[in-house]
C-alpha cells in the first residue's frame, strides 16, 4: 500500500491547528496564573469563548471568561473553562482518529450513551481536590511553591482509600509529584501537559445533580469468549502503575472486537523495572498468558462502553498458545474497534494497535528511530517512540532498530504521530525471534536481566515486610 502512511503523517486534518492554537492561548494564561492575567491572556480566553459560543457550553464559558478577567474566578467558572478546553481536545481527537481509521481501513463502533455509573464518592474529598485545583489556577504554574504543591497531600491520601475516587486520586498524585519535583529546578513549563492534567482532574471532581460522575459509566453488559492478546502497554508514575492489555475478543458470531483490559496497582518510586510485575500477583492467569503468549478463555467479564473489559482473574483461564504476530496478521484488519467515550476523547488516549512490516528502520544522529514505510516519500516516515519502551520488559531501542516486523500502538502527541512498539520480530540464525513487552511478566527470562534483578533483591517484598512490621494495623 504505497503512499498510505504519508496520508496519515504528511498532513494535519482541517481545524486541528486552529483548535490547538486556542488551547495554547489558554495554557499560557493558566501557566501565568488566572489570578493576574495580562491583556494577551484575557484575549486568549475571549478567543476560547468565541470558539465555543455556538456550543451548549457557550453561555457558561462566556460568563466564566468575564469573571476570570475581572479577577473573580469561582470554581464553577474554572469547571466551565476546563470543559471548553476539553471540548477542543475532543474535536482534535475525533479528527485525528477519523483520519487514522480511514488510513487503516478500520471499522469503529458507534457510541451508545451508557447508563450513568453508581454513586461516585465523598463530596467532601472532591471539594477538597477542586479547591486545590482552584488555587493552582489562580497562582499559575510559575506561582507554585512547595507548600502549594504539597497542599493536596491529605486530600489525595484520603481519596486513595476510596475505590470510587481512584482515578482522580491517581491523577492528582501524579500532578502533585511533578509540581513538587519541578519547584526550583525546572526552567520551563510543560504547559500543555499540566493544563491537560488540571482540566481532567477538575472534570473528575465534577458531580452531576444525580450524584454521579459524567466520566464514569456502567458496563454495557458482560461477555464470554476467547481473548487473543496483541500486547501490553505499561503506564507508570512514581506511585501508580497500570498494565493495559490490547487484545482481540472472539465472542459469538460477529467479527472479532478490539478490546483493552487494564489492571492497576499503587506503588512507590523505588519499585521500577522488572519488579513492577510483582505488584500484580493477584492476576496470575493474566500474567501467565502474557509471559507464555497464551490465549485466554474468559467468562462473564463486564464490558465497558469504551471497549474496556473489567478484568477478573478468576473468570479467566489460559488456553492454547497464540503468537500475537499471527493474531495481528490474521485478525487485526477485520476487527471492529470500540467507540471512545465522549469525555475521554483526547489525543493522548489514542493507542491504536497496528502491525507494521516491510519498513526500513533508520537511526538518526541523536538516537532517534524512524520507520520509513512508503519508500522514498519523506511523509511516509513514522517516528518510533523508543522512550516509551517500559523498563520492566525486554524490548530495547537496539532490538527495535533491527526488527523486521512490529506490533505497536499508534500515538499522537506534540503535533505528530509516532509508533510505540509492543513487540518486534528480528531475523536470527535459524529463523525469526519475537520479543514482547510482556515477556517478563513472570520474571526476567534473560539471564543478564535476571541477575540484575536478583542483585536488587525483591523491593516489593522488602517494603511489604517493613509495612507489616511498622504500620500498626
Amino acid at each position: 500500500m504505497p503512499g498510505v502512511w504519508s496520508e496519515l503523517t504528511g498532513a494535519v486534518p482541517p481545524g486541528v491547528t486552529e483548535a490547538l492554537e486556542l488551547a495554547d492561548g489558554f495554557d499560557r494564561a493558566l501557566a501565568h496564573g488566572l489570578g493576574r492575567l495580562g491583556e494577551e491572556h484575557v484575549a486568549a480566553l475571549e478567543a476560547l469563548a468565541a470558539a465555543t459560543a455556538a456550543t451548549p457550553l457557550g453561555d457558561r464559558v462566556a460568563e466564566a471568561v468575564t469573571k476570570v478577567a475581572a479577577g473573580a474566578a469561582a470554581e464553577e467558572h474554572l469547571v466551565a473553562l476546563a470543559g471548553a478546553r476539553t471540548a477542543l481536545f475532543g474535536a482534535v481527537h475525533d479528527a485525528l482518529l477519523a483520519r487514522l481509521d480511514a488510513v487503516l481501513g478500520r471499522t469503529r463502533a458507534e457510541w451508545r450513551e451508557p447508563a450513568a455509573a453508581g454513586p461516585y464518592g465523598s463530596e467532601n474529598l472532591l471539594a477538597g481536590l477542586r479547591s486545590w485545583l482552584h488555587e493552582l489556577a489562580v497562582a499559575g504554574w510559575r506561582g507554585v511553591d512547595h507548600d502549594l504543591a504539597a497542599a493536596s497531600s491529605q486530600v489525595i491520601e484520603a481519596m486513595l482509600a476510596e475505590p470510587g475516587l481512584r482515578r482522580a486520586a491517581v491523577l492528582a498524585d501524579g500532578l502533585a509529584a511533578e509540581l513538587h519535583a519541578a519547584c526550583g529546578v525546572l526552567d520551563r513549563i510543560p504547559a500543555r501537559r499540566w493544563a491537560d492534567l488540571w482540566a481532567r482532574a477538575l472534570l473528575l471532581t465534577h458531580v452531576g445533580p444525580d450524584g454521579r460522575s459524567p466520566l464514569a459509566a456502567e458496563p454495557a453488559g458482560t461477555v464470554s469468549g476467547r481473548l487473543l492478546v496483541l500486547g501490553v502497554d505499561v503506564h507508570e508514575h512514581p506511585t501508580a502503575v497500570q498494565l493495559q492489555v490490547h487484545a482481540l475478543l472472539e465472542a459469538g458470531d460477529g467479527p472479532a472486537r478490539l478490546v483493552r483490559t487494564a489492571v492497576g496497582a499503587m506503588k512507590v518510586d523505588t519499585v521500577v523495572g522488572p519488579a513492577l510485575w510483582q505488584l500484580f500477583d493477584a492476576h496470575p492467569v493474566l500474567l501467565g498468558a502474557l509471559a507464555g503468549r497464551l490465549t485466554l478463555e474468559v467468562t462473564d467479564l463486564p464490558l465497558l462502553p469504551g471497549g474496556d473489559l473489567v478484568w477478573h482473574d478468576d473468570r479467566a483461564r489460559a488456553g492454547e498458545p497464540a503468537d500475537p504476530f499471527v493474531t495481528a496478521r490474521v485478525g487485526l484488519a477485520g476487527a471492529t474497534a470500540p467507540a471512545v467515550p465522549p469525555l475521554e476523547r483526547h489525543p493522548v488516549r489514542i493507542a491504536e494497535p497496528v502491525l507494521l512490516e516491510g519498513y526500513t528502520a533508520v537511526t538518526g544522529e541523536d538516537d532517534t528511530l524512524t520507520f520509513v514505510l512508503d519508500g522514498d516519500d519523506p511523509d511516509g516516515a513514522l517516528p518510533v517512540a523508543v522512550d516509551r519502551l517500559p523498563s520492566c520488559g525486554p524490548l530495547t531501542p537496539k532490538l527495535v532498530a533491527r526488527s523486521k516486523a512490529c506490533i505497536g500502538l499508534l500515538r499522537w502527541d506534540a503535533g505528530r504521530w509516532s509508533l510505540q512498539p509492543l513487540a518486534v520480530q528480528v531475523r536470527a540464525k535459524g529463523g525469526v525471534t519475537a520479543t514482547h513487552t510482556g515477556d517478563w511478566a513472570q520474571g526476567p527470562t534473560d539471564p543478564k536481566a535476571a541477575k540484575a534483578a536478583a542483585r536488587h533483591g525483591n523491593p516489593v517484598a522488602v517494603l511489604r515486610e517493613r509495612a507489616g512490621r511498622l504500620l500498626r494495623r
Binding site: 501557566a31 511553591d145 491520601e157 491517581v170 491523577l171 510543560p190 500543555r192 492534567l197 520492566c392 503535533g415
Partner: protein
Amino acid sequence: MIADSTAPEAWSSSSWERSSTARVVSPVRPRKLAKVPFVELAGGCLQGVVSSGSDESRVYVSSIAARTHAYSCSTNNNRWCGGLGGSPCKHLHALANEAVLQYGVDRVARYLRVEVDAEVSTGSDLIARMNGRPEQAQAETVFSRFLRHLAYLELPGTTAPLPEMHWFPATGAVG
C-alpha cells in the same frame, strides 16, 4: 517557584511545551532496599530511613540539610544515634550512598548544594565534601512520610481502567 517560559517566543522552537506526555520527573534507578528502605530529597533535606543492623523492628531516621549540611540521626522514637560523634554515623553514610544509587550523584549534589568534581562518585564522597554539624531534626515527620510511603503498597489494586494513566507512559529503560 518555577521559572517563566510562557512567553510565546520561548515556545517557537520547542514541542516540549506542547507535549501532553512531556517528561518532568526522571525515574529513579533500581537499588537494593533492604538496608535503606526510604530515601527522598524533600523539604530542603536529603532524608530517609535506615534499617538497624541489630534489631529488625528498629529503624533510624537520618537527614542531611541542603546548604548548611547539618546532619541528624535518631531512632524513630527520637533517641539520638549513638554512632554520632563529631562526624556522620554509618547510617548517614548508608543514606547518602543509597541516595546516589537512586538519583545519581549529580542530582543529590545539586539538591544539597555540594561542589563536586570527577573524583566524587559515592555518597560517602559527598559527605567528605561537607562541613556540617550535628543538629537534631524532626524525626517524626520523616518517619510518618515513610509510613505513608509504605501505605501505598497496602492499597488494593484496580481492575477498572484508569484512562488518565495514558498521560504517564512507561519510563524508558533505566540503568
